[in-house]
Symmetry: C2
Subunit: 82 residues, 2 copies
Amino acid sequence: MKFQAKVNVSLKEGVLDPQGQTIGNALLDLGFENILKVKTGKIFTLEIEAETESDATRAASEAASRLLANPVIEQFKVEVVL
Amino acid sequence: MKFQAKVNVSLKEGVLDPQGQTIGNALLDLGFENILKVKTGKIFTLEIEAETESDATRAASEAASRLLANPVIEQFKVEVVL
C-alpha cells in the first residue's frame, strides 16, 4: 500500500537561525511590523510503499535520522497519511 | 494577541524538483527501496501580533505572496494557530 509521509525538519531550540532573522528583517522593511519573528524549516514529502502505517512511519523516521535531518542542530517530526 | 502561522511553501505541480530527486537517489543508495519519491518544500513559522485570527492569516498570506514564495514556481498554504 502507498503512504505519504511528511517529515518536518526544524532547528533545535537554541540554535541560531540567521536565515529566519534575515527574512524577519526583510519583512520589517516591507512594512510587516506585526510579524515579530520568523523561523525556517524544511519539509520533505515521501511516497512510501509499505504494508502498514507503522511500517511507513518507521521508514520515514529512519530516513529522517539517517539523511534528512542533521541530528546535531535539527529535530524532526514525522506524519503519515494514506 | 499573539498568533503562530505556519507557511508551507512547495513547488507547483509539474515543476522539476532536482533536490528531491537527488535525495531520493541517496535514500535508494542507503537501501530505502520502499521510498519511491521525495518532494522538498520549505516551512516558515511566523509569530504574528494581531487582533483576530483572520488578521493573522491575512498578514501571513501577504508575507508569503510578497516574499516567502516565488509565485512563478511555488505555491503556499497558510495555517494559523493560537
